[in-house]
């Protein structure tokens, strides 16, 4: 058995189980086989470990978090953990030149061609607790290069409480992971980035205070969709995700709420057509 699989089975999973606890919603939507692109928010090093621990041991070797080579290969220890235990796909951030015939995302596209499942954090790097930074469009460019590969948004909450950026003290809290439905590239890079990003953002009721907001969301979601209790509880556990300083960023024009976002509110009304696209069946 590979070192990576052992690391997750013997260390990461028991540790997270006892000193954290993961509530996963929609884990049946996690791909068993590649290729696939998982797009997740990023506030803690635990994001990667928590998300990867949801995969069965057989799939684990194919799951590759995309991470900056200059940071994760900087020291021998970091490199060992990144390369052997986690199995990152190192991405060259610096000195990448556009050469004719070469695209900087080629290594990622090749990984997809090998059937790997990539985890991409489009915020670039870890944000402050509760902060969701504007998405970069790299994943959308990649999806454009391989439009047949599903893009699955994954929202992770709570890791920024257990082990926030720049903290070494681990404090147990439950981690919520919400796996969305697969989306496929269409439209433009800009539009697709926004569409996926909108999955992570509070949309219509940004100006409602947090506590009231969560109740409103819950009531709306249960009323309109008959969403399960666990959906409601996850959706309402918005623990400060819409930070005040983030207000401006959080605003998303309602006209841009497209399928991959609004299915969260109305999960039952979307059907996948043969083209593999999502259409609202209103």
């Amino acid at each position: 058995m590979r070192l990576k699989t052992l690391f997750f089975l013997l260390i990461v999973r028991p540790l997270l189980l006892l000193f954290g606890g993961i509530r996963a919603e929609g884990s049946e939507r996690l791909p068993r086989q590649g290729p696939a692109i998982l797009v997740a928010n990023h506030n803690s090093h635990l994001d990667t470990l928590a998300l990867m621990s949801l995969f069965p041991a057989a799939t684990l070797p194919r799951v590759r978090p995309v991470a900056a080579r200059d940071y994760f290969y900087a020291t021998a220890l970091r490199r060992f953990v990144s390369e052997r235990l986690v199995g990152i796909l190192p991405l060259e951030r610096r000195g990448v030149r556009h050469q004719p015939g070469h695209h900087p995302l080629d290594p990622l596209a090749e990984a997809l061609d090998r059937g790997e499942i990539l985890i991409i954090y489009p915020e670039g790097s870890r944000g402050e607790p509760g902060e969701l930074r504007p998405f970069k469009s790299g994943f959308a460019h990649l999806a454009k290069m391989r439009p047949e590969v599903p893009v699955i948004p994954v929202e992770i909450r709570g890791t920024d409480r257990v082990l926030p950026k720049d903290e070494a003290l681990w404090v147990p809290f439950i981690i919520d992971i919400h796996i969305g439905e697969a989306c496929y590239y269409n439209g433009s890079v800009r539009e697709f980035t926004r569409r996926i990003e909108s999955f992570f953002r509070e949309t219509p009721q940004n100006d409602i205070p947090e506590r009231f907001h969560s109740m409103a969301t819950k009531e709306r979601s249960t009323r309109e969709t008959g969403a399960t209790a666990s959906t409601a509880s996850l959706r309402s556990d918005r623990s400060g995700f819409v930070a005040t300083k983030d207000k401006q960023l959080s605003f998303v024009d309602a006209s841009h709420i497209s399928d991959c976002q609004s299915y969260r509110v109305k999960p039952t009304i979307f059907r996948r057509t043969q083209e593999g696209d999502h259409h609202a069946d209103r």
Binding site: P164, L169, F173, I174, R211, F212, K218, A229, A232, S239
Partner: protein
């Protein structure tokens, strides 16, 4: 000890009956009854674990309750809004849990009874001073201390009860079993009476599912069960009746208190740890009230 095994057997028989009824209901209606099925399956797991560990000895029983406390308070801390610096406060609160259960295991009553209400109460504000964050101090300290009182201090009374010496041939394990079985049965009675007869909501703003009919039905049934299970206790008949009524009432209140928190933070279930039941808070909510009340009643009368 034989009485414990006998009661354990009764519980398992009751669960078998529930499983049988579920099968019949499924066959008759053709409906899957998924939620109810999950709930009964979870009861099997919980009853099995509980019985196995209280029979295994003091370490197993105390360890189980410590784990339950930890998981419950973790759900609570996850649920409530916190400031970033509260992580440090909460870290110290977590450290108090093993100690609280250590005192219970040792049977050191004096320390057990003041550790969280006095020492932790003094320690948490001290830790707050070290963080230097004055804004939200009162709210944060209050929330953390309150959670520790309800989910650690209250629940740890189960562990101390287990270690009580025998009274008239009845050990702590019997009293513990008596308390837990009655509390959980009371929950089930409330559910059954509420489902079948429930009309008048008692506290619609807090928990619309709680009805007067459910409460009264459960009160009667729990009091009768308390009488029937009197063989586990040194209680006289009036004492058993009073214990049953007290457990039914306190359990009802405990349930509503936890609903208050969930309402306050705006969620329905505290988690999904126990399929069909919700989180662990949803399962132990009544125990947070019945355990200390029952314990102190018994302790006052017999020790």
């Amino acid at each position: 000890m034989n009485r414990v095994v006998l009661t354990g057997g009764l519980i398992l028989a009751l669960l078998s009956l529930a499983t049988l009824i579920l099968k019949i209901m499924r066959r008759r209606s053709g409906l899957p009854y998924r939620e109810l099925g999950a709930r009964i399956r979870s009861w099997w797991v919980m009853a099995g674990l509980f019985l196995a560990l209280i029979l295994s000895g003091k370490a197993g029983a105390v360890g189980l309750f410590a784990l339950v406390s930890y998981l419950a308070v973790k759900e609570y801390f996850t649920m409530i809004p916190i400031r970033r610096v509260d992580r440090r406060i909460i870290f110290w609160a977590y450290l108090a849990i093993p100690l609280q259960y250590w005192w219970a295991y040792e049977g050191w009553y004096g320390m057990f009874i003041i550790w969280i209400p006095v020492y932790l109460f003094l320690l948490l504000p001290f830790r707050q001073i070290l963080t230097g964050e004055t804004r939200g101090f009162l709210e944060s300290t209050g929330k953390v201390q309150w959670g520790m009182m309800l989910f650690v201090f209250s629940v740890s009374h189960l562990a101390f009860l287990y270690g009580l010496p025998e009274v008239q041939g009845h050990g702590g394990v019997e009293l513990l079993l008596y308390l837990v079985v009655l509390t959980e049965l009371n929950d089930i009675y409330q559910y059954l009476f509420g489902k079948s007869l429930g009309r008048r909501p008692v506290a619609p703003a807090v928990s619309p599912g709680k009805t007067l009919e459910g409460f009264l039905g459960a009160l009667a049934a729990t009091t009768l069960t308390a009488l029937a299970l009197r063989y586990l206790t040194p209680f006289s008949v009036p004492q058993a009746l009073a214990a049953g009524a007290a457990i039914a009432t306190a359990g009802f209140v405990g349930d509503l208190v936890v609903s208050m928190i969930k309402r306050d933070v705006g969620i329905k279930d505290s988690g999904d740890l126990i399929p069909g039941h919700g989180g662990i808070l949803d399962r132990i909510d009544s125990l947070t009230y019945t355990a200390p009340l029952f314990f102190h009643g018994v302790y006052y009368i017999f020790y």
